[in-house]
């Protein structure tokens, strides 16, 4: 308990120090960077009325974040719906693994900025293109972790499935899936983090309402303090998502 308080206090000190650094930089070398005080006074409206809708691109910050979250949820769901079975398939077949692992390693590091134009060409609409990009970029950790999980199931458990003569479905539900679950969840957590990272790029390029779209619009309108508002919001939402997934993961592993 005492340690928890101590580390919380220290993290607050860190935030304050970084705030001071921000203030110092904005006052000296980077004159265009809005100071913390200016950012607060210009963003107050968006923070204090977080759900208000004044126009298509002029809405409270939480409302904007909720649009983004909804979009991320759809893309993430798509990613794990495709990624998990794919991981199982590649993990359980050495032939498929050898066939597709190199291709996956090539596709994995491609930036969302590269996928998005392709999505726009394929779907001709910004929303499906954004989902395509999110799913395609965030899928890989789920695929790779699930694959790795299946590959590292202890031989003992596979022997149990063999000597009990379990049917294919029983083997999957009683042995393969439970043994892989912790790995899968690590994959989901990393995928969600990536999906949130991709959203900003997707919204910036498609101009859809959300934190990323808002950020790009305010850059074009020269209201730089709102860029910082968006950046901080993105960071905090990402942090919260990761913490929630982390909590779910610990609970799962304890069970």
């Amino acid at each position: 308990m005492k340690k928890a308080i101590e580390s919380f206090a220290l993290s607050l000190v860190g935030v304050v120090l970084l705030g001071l650094l921000w203030a110092a930089v904005s006052g000296t070398v980077a004159k265009d960077l809005p100071s913390p005080a200016k950012t607060w006074s210009e963003s107050k409206l968006y923070i204090m009325a977080p759900w208000e809708k004044r126009g298509e691109m002029d809405q409270g910050i939480l409302r904007m974040a909720s649009y983004s979250l909804y979009r991320v949820a759809k893309g993430f769901l798509l990613a794990i719906l495709i990624g998990t079975p794919l991981g199982f398939l590649l993990g359980s077949s050495p032939v498929l693994f050898k066939m597709f692992d190199p291709a996956i390693q090539v596709l994995r590091p491609i930036s969302p900025l590269a996928w998005l134009p392709l999505g726009l060409i394929l779907f001709r609409q910004s929303e499906p293109a954004a989902l395509f990009t999110i799913a395609l970029c965030s899928m890989w950790p789920t695929v790779i972790n699930t694959m790795h999980g299946v590959q590292s199931i202890p031989q003992d458990y596979l022997n149990v499935a063999k000597v009990l003569r379990l049917s294919g479905w029983k083997k999957f539900t009683k042995v393969l899936a439970p043994a892989t679950l912790p790995y899968m969840f690590t994959g989901f957590r990393l995928s969600l983090g990536l999906a949130w990272l991709v959203i900003v790029a997707a919204e910036m390029l498609t101009g859809t309402p959300g934190v990323g779209g808002f950020l790009w619009q305010e850059y074009n309108s020269l209201i730089y303090s709102h860029i910082l508002l968006c950046i901080l919001t993105i960071g905090m939402v990402g942090f919260t998502l990761d913490r929630l997934m982390g909590m779910a993961e610990t609970r799962l592993k304890a069970a």
């Binding site: 022997n159 149990v160 000597v163 379990l166 029983k170 009683k174």
Partner: protein, 275 residues
């Protein structure tokens, strides 16, 4: 005809010969133990007998037919329990019952699982996960799982190897009791590194010489009346004689040639005692 028959089994891993020319026939209802030191190829032999690993030479016959894959009506008890950690004791046993008797109702599956857990003294721990059980209790669950499918063949791969000496003694007696109680008696093949354990449970004992290229000694019959008490090993003449036979073979089997000589000597001694 023998129920389980190993014919000239040979297996090597890379350049290392693990087993060479291993032959053994186990009659229906018989309990046969294979005693060997660690790293003598015991586990490999068991994996071959249970169809988990294919031999390089020779074949395994069950009731006269060559086996490919894991044989039907067979249960295995592994040294390391091999329980699924995400299932409770009763779920672990029930999973085996379900796949052996798919025609039964759900209630009957549970009933059978609980019945066998009670038989090994775990009636109060049916809902516990393996991680909440001690090593001895886990192996009890594994034994219940093996007997709950009412197997015709029982394969025991160093079933008590991971347990402390006291727990080992109790569980040996329980296994003997379960085997006696089963009707009809299962045919059992046990691998162990303890001669006393083999004497306590078996009808016949064969020794597996030390590798590389290990082969089996002649079988030593054990005709002691059952149930056999653990202190029999100290006083009973036959028990002492059997232990001497098996131990001598194990001690002298440094290489293939020595193993053959020892096997010959064992046979000679056996004849001498009978005469």
């Amino acid at each position: 005809m023998a129920l389980i028959e190993l014919r000239g089994i040979g297996k090597s891993y890379g350049k290392r010969d693990v087993l060479r020319g291993v032959s053994l026939a186990v009659e229906e209802g018989e309990f046969v133990s294979i005693v060997g030191a660690s790293a003598s190829g015991k586990t490999t032999l068991m994996k071959i007998a249970s169809g988990l690993v294919a031999p390089d030479e020779g074949e395994v016959l069950i009731a006269g037919a060559a086996v490919t894959g894991f044989p039907r009506n067979t249960a295995v008890v592994f040294q390391n329990y091999s329980l699924l950690p995400w299932l409770s004791a009763v779920e672990n046993v029930r999973l085996a019952v379900e796949s052996s008797f798919p025609e039964w109702s759900k209630a009957k599956h549970t009933e059978q699982a609980v019945k066998y857990l009670e038989m090994v003294g775990l009636g109060a721990a049916t809902l516990k996960k393996p991680s909440q059980l001690s090593g001895g209790m886990r192996q009890r669950v594994a034994i219940a799982r093996a007997f709950a499918v009412e197997p015709r063949i029982l394969l025991l791969d160093e079933p008590f190897g991971a347990l402390d000496a006291l727990t080992r003694l109790t569980l040996q007696q329980e296994l003997a009791r379960l085997c006696q109680a089963q009707e009809p008696r299962a045919t059992a093949l046990m691998i162990t590194n303890s001669v006393d354990e083999a004497i306590l449970l078996s009808d016949r004992i064969v020794a597996l010489g030390r590798g590389p290229g290990a082969s089996l000694s002649e079988a030593v019959p054990v005709s002691l009346a059952r149930p056999r008490a653990a202190d029999l090993m100290m006083h009973d003449e036959e028990a002492i004689w059997v232990r001497g036979q098996v131990s001598e073979f194990l001690a002298s089997s440094g290489d293939g040639g020595a193993a053959k000589r020892a096997a010959a000597r064992a046979v000679a001694n056996a004849v001498a005692v009978e005469a």
